[in-house]
């Protein structure tokens, strides 16, 4: 084992240890180097942040539904003089921070951080990550980020928290005087961004190394679960895209703090100051930013795709439909993802020729997505479906992803994008992808792997209720946004109704806000279910779902070192309903082949010793 695991000596014992070893509570549960603990830490943190981001979103919705009315709870505290009606810069702050928190502190960490950490070693049959300390750091670098965002709220008052949009385009974000939120708060925000970047970078390095080097015997690349594939591809994406954003962030900080001149052109008169000096180019930021942030969209989606594939297969008791096409399409998405960033800038006045190329590449990226959708449907096709919470969330994932993907075609085609750019159509689009797809995927994953995390199952009734309310609330909130977008309703408007052509849309917005509140309530059910099940949930054995993955051969929860014995892999992860055996409809990756002829035995030299263990 120790020959396989560079980390064996690091926690001073072999794989057979079951977590009962003499390290203090702090080392074990707080500054832990155990990938499972870290994963759970990530999960809890991100769920917490989910609530914060949701609260900010409700603030936005409130203003859109009842503009300038007394804001519940905080209104009378922050804006007592104005009768509790929020100020416009406060609204732009809400918009900005909602996006920042949700993207950087919820979705990215919950996928790569929480599930990546927890699942990768378990699913490839390793006893931990390649670099456990790095892993721990990657979690503890989240907190400086959270702290920075927190400071940016406080540093010059709630009214002057970052409000330049999560894209924070210069010049607005580069000049301190251009907006209330463009002061010190913006610098703190950028620092927070950098810390998130550092954290994800540590993670991705770790994941790549682990997945390449630490697979159990017999776990060939094409025997890896799609979850692992997606995590692997995501890690690569991050490793290549992130440095650009970090560089851009540093450039902007340099511009703001050290008076460099990357983004601000000369001769601008902002807030009655003297004209700016310098020959910067605002579009430079947009290119750099989107060169990261478009791949980031897939960083925020691919892992969910992978996990959903695994969960679907398990819930329909059926091999995944077209395993290799799934892998290839994920790779294709990742590859194309690097050359489509320009479709965020069709109206920005960049060279129109570029516009065409980006348009075509963007169209093409819809293709692998389509293939995956068809394959998922194919997977369900002819399966004996278990309609449990996990399944429901997975189906919702597919269904929402179809909507989000299809509305993307309007964005890809430049002329229609000219109209839809920065309207609520876009907002609808990315919420269907990021919330509708990714978050439903995550909800499913939470219910699916919860037994492995804590040894108990989550409550089904609460799970179904949570799903039902979230699904209804979600569609009620975001589907009408398509209509708003078609009606030319621009994003980030504190009071759109001063424009006569939007006045009649206020009732619709009120409806959406009510649905959003419903959705907010539903999340409390999830949180409650999550914590209460920890004590009262039905005890789960090693393999509550009768699934095939390696993780299900480990005890629940797995002890330190994960596996009692080094697992040996004989087949892919999706051999459900295999005709090879009759007594059950699943065949785990570790199950020795019923008759050796059908299944290629793993190559001898690596697995000889452990093969004997098995015997």
């Amino acid at each position: 084992m120790s020959t396989l695991s560079p980390t064996a000596d690091l926690h001073g014992h072999g794989h057979e240890g079951h977590g009962h070893h003499d390290i203090g509570f702090v080392r074990k549960y707080v500054f832990s180097t155990d990938h499972k603990i870290i994963g759970i830490q990530f999960l809890v943190t991100t769920l917490l942040m989910l609530l914060v981001g949701g609260a900010l979103a409700l603030g936005v919705r409130f203003q859109l539904a009842w503009p300038w009315r007394t804001v519940p709870i905080i209104g009378n505290i922050v804006f007592s003089g104005e009768g509790g009606s929020m100020s416009p810069e406060f609204y732009t702050m809400l918009v900005t921070m909602h996006a920042s928190v949700m993207i950087f502190l919820v979705i990215i960490p919950i996928l790569a951080g929480a599930f990546g950490n927890f699942l990768i070693p378990l699913m490839i049959g390793a006893d931990d990550m390649a670099f456990p300390v790095l892993n721990m750091l990657s979690y503890w670098f989240m907190w400086p980020a959270i702290a920075c965002f927190g400071v940016s709220f406080m540093v010059n008052g709630l009214n002057a928290a970052p409000a330049q949009g999560w894209t924070s385009y210069p010049v607005l974000s580069a000049l301190h005087d251009s907006a209330p939120g463009a002061g010190a708060a913006q610098t703190w925000w950028l620092l927070g961004l950098t810390f998130v970047g550092v954290s994800s970078m540590m993670g991705s390095v770790n994941y790549m190394t682990t997945i390449i080097n630490m697979r159990a015997p017999g776990m060939t690349l094409f025997r890896m679960p799609l979850t692992i594939w997606s995590m692997f591809i995501t890690a690569i994406l991050q490793a290549f895209a992130l440095p650009v954003l970090t560089a851009a962030g540093f450039m902007l900080v340099a511009e703001r703090v050290l008076g460099f001149n990357f983004f601000v052109p000369g001769g601008l008169i902002v807030n009655d100051n003297d004209p700016t000096i310098g020959g910067g180019q605002p579009l430079l930021w947009q290119h750099l930013f989107w060169f990261y942030s478009h791949p980031a969209v897939y960083i925020m989606l691919l892992p969910a795709m992978g996990m959903v594939s695994d969960m679907l297969a398990a819930q329909v008791r059926k091999p995944i439909f077209g395993y290799k096409p799934m892998v290839y399409s994920m790779a294709a998405i990742a590859g194309l993802g690097f050359i489509v960033w320009g479709h965020h800038m069709f109206t920005s006045g960049m060279n129109p020729a570029l516009g065409m190329t980006f348009m075509i590449s963007t169209m093409m990226i819809a293709l692998p997505s389509a293939v995956k959708v068809f394959n998922w449907i194919g997977t369900i096709w002819g399966g004996k479906v278990r309609f449990n919470t996990v399944m429901l969330n997975c189906v919702a994932f597919v269904s929402m992803f179809i909507v989000g993907g299809l509305s993307g075609i309007w964005m890809a085609s430049v002329p229609t994008d000219i109209y839809f750019h920065d309207t609520y159509f876009i907002v609808a689009h990315f919420h269907y992808v990021l919330f509708g797809a990714t978050l439903f995927g995550c909800f499913g994953a939470i219910h699916f792997w919860y037994p492995k995390m804590f040894g108990r199952k989550m409550n089904e009734t609460a799970g179904k209720l949570h799903f039902l309310l979230t699904f209804i609330g979600f569609n009620g909130t975001f589907f009408p946004m398509h209509m708003l977008g078609i009606a030319g309703f621009p994003r980030r408007y504190a009071d759109p109704y001063i424009h006569p052509y939007m006045e009649h849309l206020m009732p619709m917005n009120r409806f959406m806000t009510l649905c959003a509140i419903l959705m907010g309530i539903a999340q409390f059910i999830l949180i409650a279910n999550f914590f209460i099940s920890y004590f009262t949930g039905e005890k789960a054995g090693r393999n509550p779902w009768q699934a095939n993955g390696l993780e299900w051969s480990a005890p629940s929860p797995p002890g330190h070192g994960n596996f009692d014995v080094l697992p040996v892999v004989y087949r892919g992860p999706y051999e459900y309903s295999s005709p090879l055996i009759d007594d059950r409809d699943y065949l785990m990756q570790t199950d020795p082949p019923p008759n050796r002829t059908t299944d290629a035995a793993p190559d001898q030299d690596r697995t000889a010793p452990s093969a004997e263990d098995q015997a």
Partner: protein
């Protein structure tokens, strides 16, 4: 049941959130008032409350020249109790016939005999006793007006044929609603130019409470006219954060203007009262006198002098704020503009650089707004002998103010020749920009105007030479 418990809690929480008591905007007390001896401060606040009310309970002070969109007319005949026949006609742009059916709840003033003189402007006759009722409803076709008492109870209307009827319109509420939607973030609920957004803006939003507006068409010492404010709201102030509200309908803009004037009057009344009280009833007196003595003295003062002060202040307000509407007080050039020519511009430049006007000492030789006056350190406004940290001139609001950089071609008060003429003729109120009207001829001023309008193109011409 654990889950349902949690859900109950969540719902309860959000219900509370949803139904949290909706507070209403409040007028703030000025800092000068804060400095007063507590009972004096209370007196000022109660007087203000009596005269102007709160943002959601506006009080109409009929003496004030505010256009409430009133309707007026004289009674044709008194039919039953609480019902009279009176043809109502609008007395202002805000009072349009289509509002007639919506008058319910509006205040009704009845001025015995000859009330028709009220029809001239929005003012009730000060001398005569005026009975106050409220509109139950009005039927435009039958011209019959049903009223109830001010308390809402059915009542006998004491009026005879020929009495003047005046109905206070809702122009002010309209203005208030629009103000709270479009203006309050910067200018603040009480018009103190200190809304939540204000601290981040340069220059600071206007503080109405001095009754002082910079860019007016009126003579020195005269308030801003409705047209001036209307123009500013419509066109905005280029180069500042005051945006143009060009596309607001005219009646909405007029309503806002009326509300702004009303706020200014409120602010002025406050500062007038404070001036009257600050010498004798500032809180500093408590340092060496007992509270009892001061309050005893104040009670006497409040009984004897305060009512007179308030009512006379009200009269001053009505005089001051009616004045700008009088064409006499509007600056109109006597001679036509001198055509802009090389010579005229040259003459203008000569004047600009002359000892006679000393324009250059603030605006600089090249008109870049960098004259020597911007480099000298001045006393802080209102506290002689105390030097400011940074050099520069101050305006009446205590803010550092930059002389206009004429090279940018941004003219805050408007770029029409007449606008610039007025700036030069009667100065910019509340700023060091002085009035030259009484020592420059129209000819001279027009030359200066031509020069100023040409400054943005000066550099090019000089470069070409």
């Amino acid at each position: 049941m654990k889950f349902s418990d949690t859900i109950v809690c969540a719902v309860a929480l959000l219900s509370i959130a949803g139904c949290s008591s909706n507070s209403v905007p409040q007028f703030e007390t000025s800092q000068d008032t804060e400095k007063l001896f507590q009972p004096a401060r209370d007196a000022v606040e109660s007087e203000l409350h009596a005269a102007f009310g709160t943002p959601d309970q506006l009080v109409v002070w009929p003496e004030l020249p505010v256009d409430f969109g009133n309707f007026g007319g004289s009674i044709e005949k008194v039919t039953t109790q609480g019902t009279v026949v009176v043809p109502l006609s609008g007395q202002s742009p805000l009072a349009t016939a289509d509002r007639l059916p919506e008058l319910s709840g509006a205040a009704v003033l009845v001025a015995p005999s000859g009330g028709d003189e009220t029809a001239e402007d929005g003012q009730a006759p000060a001398e005569k006793a005026v009975a106050v009722y409220r509109v139950a409803h009005y039927e435009p076709e039958s011209k019959s007006l049903h009223v109830v008492g001010d308390d809402g109870q059915p009542t006998q209307i004491s009026a005879t044929e020929g009495d003047g009827i005046q109905i206070i319109g809702d122009g002010l509420q309209k203005g208030r609603n629009l103000y709270l939607r479009h203006c309050v973030h910067c200018h603040g609920v009480s018009g103190d130019g200190d809304g939540p957004t204000a601290p981040y803006l340069k220059p600071r939003p206007r503080d109405y409470r001095k009754g002082l507006f910079k860019f007016t068409s009126t003579k020195p010492g005269i308030r801003a006219s409705r047209d001036d404010l209307f123009r500013i709201v419509k066109l905005g102030v280029p180069g500042t954060y005051m945006p143009s509200f060009m596309l607001l309908p005219d009646d909405e803009v007029s309503a806002i203007v009326e509300y702004v004037r009303w706020l200014s009057m409120r602010g002025e009344l406050e500062s007038k009262l404070v001036v009257q009280l600050s010498l004798d009833f500032s809180s500093t007196r408590l340092e060496d006198e007992s509270f009892a003595d001061v309050s005893a003295e104040f009670d006497e003062f409040r009984g004897s002098d305060l009512p007179d002060i308030v009512s006379s202040a009200g009269e001053e307000l009505s005089v001051d704020w009616s004045a700008p509407e009088d064409p006499e007080n509007v600056v109109t050039p006597k001679e036509e503009r001198v055509a802009s020519s090389e010579e005229s511009i040259a003459r203008g430049r000569k004047l600009f650089l002359s000892e006679k006007t000393k324009c250059y000492s603030c605006h600089g030789e090249t008109g870049a707004g960098n004259g020597t006056a911007t480099e000298t350190i001045n006393d802080l406004p209102g506290q002689p002998g105390v030097k400011a940290e940074e050099p520069g001139l101050f305006d009446s609001w205590g803010q550092i103010i930059k002389p206009r950089n004429l090279q940018r071609g941004l003219f805050r008060g408007g770029r029409r020749p007449v606008d610039i003429y007025r700036r030069i003729h009667s100065g910019i109120k509340g700023t060091p920009m002085q009035a030259f009207g009484n020592n420059l001829s129209d000819q001279d001023i027009w030359d200066l105007v031509n020069f100023v309008l040409n400054v943005p193109f000066e550099k090019k011409t000089q470069a070409s030479h």
